[in-house]
Amino acid sequence: MAQISSTIVLLPILIPLFGAAASLLLYKRPRLQAAWSFGTIFLSAATSTGLLYQVWLRNQAVVYQLGAWPAPIGISIVGDMLSATLAFMAQFVLTSGFLYALGSRDKVVQYPGFYPLFLGLAAGLTGALLSGDLFNLFVFAELLVISGTVLTAISDDKYGTEAAYKYFYISLLASICLLIASGSLYASYGTLNMADLAQRISANPDRPLTALAMVLLMVTFMIKGAVFPFHFWQPDFHTTSATPVSAMLSSVVVKLGVYGFIRMTTLIFLPYRDTIELVLILLGAFGVLFGGLSAIGTNNVKRMLAYSTVGQVGFILVAIGWGTPAALAAAVIFTFNHSLIKSAMLMLSGFVASRAAIKSTAFNMLRGIGKQLPFAGALFLVGGLALVGIPPTNGFLNKLALFRSGIEAGEFASLSFIAVASTLTLIYVIRAFQQIWWQTPVEGVYAKPGGDHLTAPAILIALSLLIGLWGEPLVRLAQDTAIWLNTPVNYLQLVFGV
């Protein structure tokens, strides 16, 4: 039966979930627990690679109907091009995060709850990306939010709890919005399955609660993705959490919002597509400007990178807003590459902080300390160039695909706006590099021996160079995803098994 071969779509969710439960049992054996958790996430990433292979190269998108109930009645776990690509990206970056955590000197990674929570974060994120049901997405997003909150609340930074509280408060508001939206959609259309919703909304777009549901869903995904007017909790949250966690939060976790917007414009709210796209272009463009300016104004390298995420997510939203197949492909490329770069950059800043005399990511604590850390400096420079978009890094691929799709779509106003605003990236990256690696250190300041391991960021930076030099597979993957997204009927046929 088709159900058995399609279990592969469940594995990237179930493996971290069971791994988390099992690693709780190992709480008295910290080293074994860490090794077990890394093995779990590695296996899980391997299965999500297998899922991507199945969906993309063998061209068989998979869907698993939980409990074998047919689609609109039961819950579907859907591995289509978009979900499989993003799940692969998420799990790959999460594996590097676990690798960093293994070599981290932070106190937080020694807590017995750290690895189970980290695996919970992985399961929640993957589940939300692969879920084909709005309410199921809510459940997995809550798992993600609670794990992320606790991971930040227990971080070494003594203000972590404050940031975690802010984040959790805003996230509870987001889940209330998502619940109201689900209730409105259920009252209007009698279903919460995304494919079924898409069908029924297209057939009957003018029910009284549809617009409310659309607006609230947009608010939800804006909060999840830290999009410009809803970003205020994000810099605090991403600055105070432990390095391996903040590298994940700022790279892959915010991509849940991006995923939600792609699903909204290309599937669920097709009749309202133009409205949503207009809002996305406006907010994305302002996000690029605002994120860039705020990143220049900070005195803390992690906070700078967190604001930079606001700006980079803005680029992705503008691409989704243009909405042509080329622009959607650019959005996927950008999403993928930004996750690699941003997690590597955050890990590098965490590494530098772990070598500082007083563990801090503020520039005045790190000034000139990089003179003794040349390898990290080289990695940071390459990562920074990738963030700016200078060849031969993968960032160049992002900007090339994005700007080319904008020219093809004829969106010159928004294109020129974000092109000008994107030069801000250069300013803040160079500023950070200058502060840490160029300036003369204060008398008597030395980098401590020891500190975090550089393996994980080195792998990510090497990969971003590799993609920059040989980007064809990624571009082809993104183009195939865009083609898949452009024909929503594929998704419906997949879920309903016609």
Partner: protein
């Protein structure tokens, strides 16, 4: 009855939003709890117009829709966990900051 339910839900939303906007963190957390319960009632009402016979029985007529109740059950469980977490974090905040004023919990300014 419908008017009464609608008014009750509306009242809970109003009270929740009002409390949410207070300066006291504990009050604003209570506002969040009220709001979340109002949402649960709203979810309940979204299935209210689909028949009056109890679901999964053999009685004649249009059975009522049981799905919203399953949704609420899930939402209640999740919000219970969430509120426990909110309470524990509020406790830590009150110990560390010795205040419940939102404006004074601002040590994260860089």
């Amino acid at each position: 009855m419908e008017i009464l339910t609608a008014a009750a839900i509306g009242l809970m939303f109003a009270a929740g939003v009002f409390q949410l906007l207070r300066r006291n963190v504990i009050r604003s957390a209570i506002g969040l709890f009220i709001l979340s319960n109002a949402v649960n009632l709203f979810l309940l009402s979204s299935g209210a117009y689909q028949g009056v016979i109890i679901a999964y029985t053999t009685l004649a007529g249009q059975p009522s829709d049981a799905l919203p109740q399953a949704l609420i059950l899930t939402a209640i469980v999740i919000s219970m966990g969430g509120f426990a977490l909110v309470m524990s974090m509020l406790y830590i905040l009150s110990v560390r900051y010795k205040t419940s004023d939102v404006d004074e919990i601002n040590r994260l300014r860089f």
